[in-house]
Every structure is written in C-alpha cells, then in structure tokens.
C-alpha cells in the first residue's frame, strides 16, 4: 500500500491543472454573451429570410430600429445564423463592458436593410431579461424561437 501512496504523491506533485480558459477571445475589456437557440414552429419561407441574427439592445425600448442602430445601441452576432436547423449556438462579443443588455433576441431581416422583426426573445414570464455584462466575463443565455408564436415587436 505504501508504494501506491508513494506513486499517488508523485503523480499529484508532478501535475499542474492542465488546460484552462485563456479568455483570449474577450481579453481585458471584452466580454461575451453566448448560448444555444432552439427553433420550433414553421420556419418562414426562404424569400423572407434575408438574414437572421442574435441582437442585444442596450437601451430598451428603443425609439426605432434606425435610431438605435446608428447610435450603436444594438449588438449583433458577426454572421447570419443557419436557417432551417433545430438549434444553433451563438456568441456576441461585447467590447465596452460593464453594461446592461436590456433586450436580447433573435431578429429576422425580412426585406430591406432596416426591415427587421424579433422572432424570439430571451425572457421570463413575457418580460425581457436584463443581462448585466461584466468586464472580462461571459454570460450564458439559452432561449427558444417559436415561429408560430412570435413575441411583441420592440420597433
């Protein structure tokens, strides 16, 4: 038994903890919101799916989409989400934390550049959940988009 203990001690003494998160993708002044979106209901026809992104709005409700967009109050996922899939991962990098994201949603672009509508909101009991994003921290937010039961529109 003493040999076993000796081996265990040697092993434990020789080990570091191995890999650890390096926070490289959001160093120092950056943070992120990430998670998984699950889709249900009937997807819109392809002609009305010009773009699909997760958006975060800093000051909610906004006056209108155009004002909020040009004021830098809306954060987007970098690329469009895949269409017609049961679920998908996303992440939004937040450069200027700490701040509050007062409205997190999946938004569908159905026409021109500024024609967007919310199709799913990160909410509890019908109310949008406010996310307090700290510097260098990440927040997980998973939610569902039900195309057959769209949320109230913010714009």
């Amino acid at each position: 038994m003493k040999y076993i203990c000796l081996l265990l001690v040697l092993i434990l003494a020789s080990c570091s903890e191995g890999l650890e998160p390096n926070f490289k993708t959001f160093p120092e002044n950056k943070s992120k919101i990430y998670g998984t979106i699950t889709f249900k209901g009937s997807w819109p026809i392809a002609d009305s799916l010009k773009d699909l992104r997760v958006i975060g709005i800093k000051n909610f409700p906004p006056k209108d989409f155009q004002t909020a967009f040009f004021a830098g109050d809306i954060l987007f996922t970098e690329a469009t989400l895949s269409y017609y899939v049961p679920s998908i991962n996303y992440e939004i990098v937040v450069d200027d934390a700490p701040l509050a994201i007062e409205y997190l949603a999946v938004a569908q672009n159905y026409g021109g550049l500024l024609e967007w509508k919310a199709v799913g909101v990160y909410s509890a009991e019908g109310e949008p959940i406010v996310l307090q994003v700290q510097k260098g921290k990440s927040i997980e937010a998973n939610f569902t988009v039900d195309f057959d039961n769209l949320p109230p529109q913010p714009f």
Partner: protein, 722 residues
C-alpha cells in the same frame, strides 16, 4: 526440395539404426494435447517439441534405456521426470500455472509462444486486465500499453501516426488474425467486438508487413476472441457521471451528464456434441461532457466453434451501429465544451457495421492448414440532405480470403506460407465508386534451438485501385532471439507499407468548414523498422518477481501520406505523399511482482523528424510513460493507472485559420482508478465496482481543438447468473 527429401530419408534411416527412443504424450488437465510443449533430455542437446494435436512426441536416435527429461510449456508448470523409460509412450500431464506468464499467438502459428521467445517488441493485455477496468470501449482498455496512443478510433504505435482526420490506419487491426479495417477509410472500428468476447489483445510494435501486408506500417493489433468456451451467462451494467468542470465557462448543465453501458454474455460449451456457442452484446449511451456530443452505440455478435479430431472451425457474425453528434472541434478554449458558433448542432453521424468471418484449421501429418474468409460492410452517413454541401455518406465492403500452411520441416525448423486476397469495394457519395484489390503471397521460416531463434519472412503484395496497378511491394523481415545469462536478446529488421486508401485518394467532402480534395495519384507509403532489445525476468518466490524489457528502435518512413492544408486556403485539405521521416526511439518496461500487487511501468522516448524539412513531425509526443499497479487481496481487486504524455513539439499552424486555439496543448497527466469487490466467496455471484476515469480532473487535448474527457465516476455491477 530434392535435398530436403534426402535429408528426411537420412533422418528416417538414422532412426532405424538406433533402437532407443523417448516418446510419450504431453497433455493438459482436460487431457488435450499441449501443442508446442518442449521436451528436453537433461544434460544433453537433445530435445523436441509437441507437434501433434494429441500431444505425441518422440526423440529417437538414442542409446540409453532411461533418461531424465524436462517437459515445459508456456503457462504450465515445468515437469522433471527421472528414470523415464525408453520406448514407452507415457502420458505426461502439465498443470496450468496461475501466474503472469502468458501464451500469445503471433506469426499465425497454431501453438502459443512465450513472449520472450519472439524477436520483436510485443505487448499483450489479457481478459483480466480488461475486466478489472470498467471501460465501455476497447480503445480505453488499450490505453495502458506503453508506446501506444489511441485517439478516438485512430491508433498510433510509437508515433506512427499524427493527426490524420481518422483515415488510413498505420496500424494493422485484426480479430483472430483476420484483417478488420474498413474498405473506404481503412480505419479501425473498435465497436465491432463486444468487450466480453476478448481473450487477449496482442500488439506488435514496428513494421509487420512481412506477415500482415498493407497497413502494418507501425504495428499490429490482434484481438483474440474466446476459444475455450465455458457454459456461462453474465450481465453487467455500469453507470458513469461526469463531474462538473472547474471553470464556469465550461459548464454546460446544472445536472450531471451520464454515461452508461450494459453488457450481456452467454456461452454454452458443447451445445451439440463438439459445437460451442456464444452470443454477446453491448449497449452504450454517453451524454458526454460536451454540448451536442451525445453518442449511442450497440453491438451484437455470435460465435459458433466446432472442434473435430485434428482441427476446428470458427464462425463469427457481428453487427454494430453508432449514432453520434457530428462533433469535430470546439468553439474555442474559452468555450471548450461547445461546438463553434453557427454550427448546426443537430447533425448526427450514423455508422453501421455488419460482417462475418469463418476460419478453419486442420492438422494432417504435422502440417497445419488454415483457411480464412471474411466480409466487413461499413456504412456511414450524416443526417443532412444530399444537396447540402456538408453531406457525407459511404457504403463500403471489404472481402478477404486467405489460406496458409504451417509445418515443422525438422524438429527445429518451422515453415509458414500462404496467400491472401482482399477486395475493397466502395460505393460512396463522398468517395465515389471505386474498388481496390490486394493480392499477397507470404512465407516465413523459423529455426529454433533451445537458446536461439532465427526467423525470416518475406511477403509480396500487388495492389490495384480501379484499373491502375502499383508495383509489387516486397516486404522482408528478419528476427533473431538469443538467450544469454538468462537474458533474452532480440534483434529485428523489417519493412512495412501501406497502400493509399480510397478515402485518401478520392475524398471530396466538406465538414465544419474544412473541404477535402481528391488526389487520385496518391502512392503507397513505406517504412523500414530496426530494433534491438533485451528482456529479463526473474522469479524470487510465488508471486514475487521482477523483469525488465529494454528496446531501441529506428523507423525510417518514406513517402508518408499526410493530410496537408493547402496554403492560402486555410481550409482545403489534400492527402499527399510528402514526407521522408525518421523516428528514433527507446522504450523501457519494468515489472515488479510483490505478492499482493504487480507494478508495471513503461517509458517511451521518440525523436521524430521530417527529414525533408528537418523539423519535428507534427502531433507526435516525445515522451510517454504508462504505469499500472494491479492488486488483488482476497475478494478485492484494484487497478491504478497513470499516463503521462508530453505535449507535441510541432503542430499544424495553418489549422489555426479554422480552429480557434488550435495550439492549446499541455503535457498530460491522467490517473484512472478502479476498485472491484467480488462477492462469490459468500455465494453471491456478483461483482461491484467503483472507478474514476481522469481522477485528477486534469484538462488536456489529444486532438486539435478537442478537450479530452473530464473526470468521470463510474459505478458498476456484474451478475454472473451461472
């Protein structure tokens, strides 16, 4: 040939001149002949081996009327008989030892050979090594062998492979001596064999194409299934749970993620007359420590074995299916337990395998004839539609037929020879419609004296893909073993080759951002392996022993096929004959038996170099160490395993364009602990087990962008119905 006949006649004539002979039957506890048992007349150079299935032996040309003889065999207690009379065929019973010495069956010989007699590096794990550790797959069980690295279904022996996207195994994989690599990717399918069926796993380290043909570039793995059937029925279940990771950003659930495995095994000795039967099955479900990485698989196999006077037949049929999420790499080190953002999480990869093999052997006039035939169909597809760019599908069948003959030409001269034919038929969305044929001829001769063994093998393989043939591949191998001062010295030199597989030549596929491009001009890769080694083992008392095995080796590799990321693209992968490589290394193994436990530890050092660029080969670990303590005290047994691997010195930097944190590697320290308690002594046929895989919850990567399994606690129960 004429000389050989003259020699036989001369020997026959000599036997007639001298009237005295020692003869008899060497049998085991079940009154079966012990083929391969050695009989020596003490204080002389005279001796022989048992060649006949009924155990008969004869040493003639003798003058005395009584002798002192020593009878020994692998795994049996040695017997010394004084005053053994001449010309009387007595029965000599050898009793099995319950010790560590094991018989193995390399080189297709019918009889087992002691490991120290074989002039190459070989490792073996046995049924009890597997049973004591509650693994749900065989790959994990192999991980205790020094010099071996098993990553997913890819096996690397002494650095033979780096990271090859799962295609083109450089290690031959066989079950009962029959090749079992898939026809399209030539990859290993570990799940085609339920674990309860395995009796022994033998691993030959170094090129072995002289005997086993293509793929045996870095080594061979041969699974031996149970051959001595008992009448038994057992069911076992284990349940594992992944503990939560230390880092918040890696947590994927508020609840533990589970893994479970259910195994069933039934066998019936002499179901009808000399017909033995077994059926085994296994179902595994793994929720995984990563998000969208759930895996399910099951397998079932049935075996019929028929024994008759001078031979036997074995038929085994099996099927397996796995359905897994199509996980390729992580999002980033920060979110190492999640697939990349934008990934379609619901894509699943289904892989089905169905096959059989039939093998037969027959002993006639001291000549053993073996016949083998097998079929392995593999079919994989993902759940996307055919018009999706990431759709992958392949249906491939490998047909194999072989015959070989083994005979003692003289008492100490053993000859093997044979031929085989393999047809790989691929009908695939991803690789197209192609077939590959490989025809082989091989021969080996072994000259054996009490202290000296010399063997030489030669194999010729002709490969053609569709209508394009490659040149004959000639693979020689020479091995010498010599016992001096109780040390078994060995030396071997042999060549290996691997024909480019259909998956490497014709792949046109997309997966998670990578695009694989076809290269029909891909040629075979070749190698030469050289090794010298020494093995020493000394028994001090019952269950007290020590032993050392040291080897130094050199693997020279030519035209190595490597997946190459096309510069500029960052994501286009093409397989090319690129590399002239050299892997120099040394391996040392120490075994120590101390009554209640056995300590074994192995160290492997590899210096791998791409000689074209003078850089270190990618994804090779310079240092490896594997240690185990196995202990048995009354009804309690324990296995403690420790694996260390240094992080690779070189990686593919260009993968960084696609895989976030592709360079996240650390030295690995992995500790596994298993405890088992057997209640059979209190008339309860139950064994319970408690185990921890990655006990220290150490975080590391073995594959690019893949966090290796985190700590898992396992509870197990086995019930042996009878």
């Amino acid at each position: 040939m004429k000389n050989l006949i003259y020699m036989c006649l001369l020997l026959l004539n000599s036997a007639l001149v001298f009237g005295s002979a020692v003869e008899g039957y060497v049998i085991d506890e079940e009154n079966r002949g012990v083929v391969g048992a050695t009989i020596r007349i003490e204080n002389t150079q005279k001796g022989t081996y048992v060649k006949a299935a009924n155990g008969y032996f004869k040493i003639d040309k003798l003058e005395d009327q009584s002798f002192t003889i020593i009878v020994s065999s692998v795994g049996k207690e040695t017997v010394r008989l004084e005053n053994y009379p001449a010309n009387q065929a007595k029965k000599i019973k050898l009793i099995s030892k319950t010790v560590r010495t094991k018989s193995i069956d390399v080189f297709g010989k019918k009889s087992g050979s002691a490991m120290q007699e074989i002039p190459i590096s070989i490792a073996a794990i046995f049924r009890e090594d597997i049973a004591i550790r509650p693994n749900s797959d065989l790959a994990a069980s192999l991980d205790i062998i020094p010099g071996l690295l098993v990553t997913d279904d890819q096996v690397s022996v002494r650095g033979s492979s780096g990271f090859s996207f799962g295609t083109g195994s450089r290690v031959g994989y066989m079950i009962d001596g029959i090749p079992m690599l898939s026809a399209d990717l030539n990859d290993v399918k570990f799940d085609i064999i339920p674990m309860q069926e395995i009796e022994t796993v033998e691993v030959i380290k170094g090129a072995g194409s002289a005997l086993y043909g293509t793929s045996a570039l870095g080594g061979i793995i041969n699974m031996k299934t149970i051959s001595r059937f008992e009448s038994t029925l057992s069911v076992s279940q284990h349940l594992g749970l992944y503990t939560a990771p230390k880092y918040e950003t890696w947590k994927i659930s508020d609840y533990p993620r589970f893994e479970s495995s259910t195994k069933l095994y039934f066998s019936q000795k002499e179901l009808f007359s000399d017909l033995d039967f077994s059926i085994a099955g296994q179902y595994n479900k793994d929720e995984s420590y990563r998000l969208f990485d759930e895996q399910r698989n099951y397998n079932i196999s049935t075996t019929l074995q028929y024994r008759f006077g001078q031979g036997g037949l074995k038929f085994r049929m099996y099927g397996a299916e796995s359905k897994n999420h199509d996980w390729v790499y992580w999002n980033s080190l920060d979110s190492a337990t999640r697939p990349p953002a934008g990934n379609d999480n619901e894509v699943k990869l289904t892989s089905r395998k169905l096959g059989y093999y039939l093998s037969g052997n027959y002993l006639i006039n001291d000549i053993t004839i073996n016949l083998k035939n097998s079929l392995l169909n593999t079919h994989f597809f993902n759940s996307l539609n055919e018009d999706d760019t990431d759709y992958r599908e392949s249906d491939a069948t490998a047909y194999f037929i072989a015959s070989d003959v083994h005979a003692y030409l003289l008492d100490n001269l053993f000859l093997s020879g044979g031929s085989s034919f393999t047809l790989n038929d691929v009908n695939s969305f991803t690789y197209g419609k192609h077939n590959q044929k490989i025809f082989s001829l091989f021969s080996q001769i072994e000259y054996k004296l009490p202290e000296f063994i010399l063997n030489f093998g030669l194999r010729a393989d002709k490969e053609s893909t569709d209508s394009i043939s490659t040149k004959w591949q000639i693979s020689p191998k020479l091995g010498v073993s010599y016992k001096l001062w109780d040390v078994d010295f060995r030396m071997s030199a042999g060549s290996g080759f691997r024909a480019a597989v259909i998956g490497e030549k014709f792949a046109t596929a997309n997966f998670q951002g990578f695009e694989v491009i076809a290269n029909p001009n891909l040629g075979p890769e070749k190698s030469w392996s050289f090794e010298i080694g020494a093995k020493f083992e000394k028994t001090l008392a019952e269950n007290m022993f020590y032993g050392v095995d040291i080897s130094v080796f050199d693997n020279e590799m030519y035209d190595l096929i490597e997946p190459t990321v096309e510069s500029g693209s960052g994501t286009q992968i093409i397989f090319k004959n690129l590399t002239r490589a050299r892997i120099l290394g040394a391996e040392a193994e120490l075994r120590l038996g101390m009554k209640y436990f056995i300590l074994s530890t192995g160290f492997t050092y590899l210096d791998s170099k791409n000689l074209d660029t003078d850089e270190t080969l990618k994804y090779r670990n310079k240092w490896m160490s594997k240690s185990s303590i196995v202990s048995k005290w009354q009804d309690l047994s324990m296995a403690l395993d420790y694996k260390y691997m240094s992080k690779p010195d070189a990686i593919d930097e260009i993968l960084g364009q696609q895989v976030e944190d592709h360079d996240a590697y650390v030295n690995m320290h992995i500790v596994d602990l298993s405890l088992n308690y057997d209640f059979s002594s209190v008339a309860l046929p139950v064994t319970i087990s408690l185990a921890a895989k990655n006990l220290l919850d150490y975080y590391y990567t073995e594959m690019v962008g893949n966090l290796a399994p985190t700590r898992k606690i396992i509870f197990g129960l086995e019930y042996k119905v009878y």
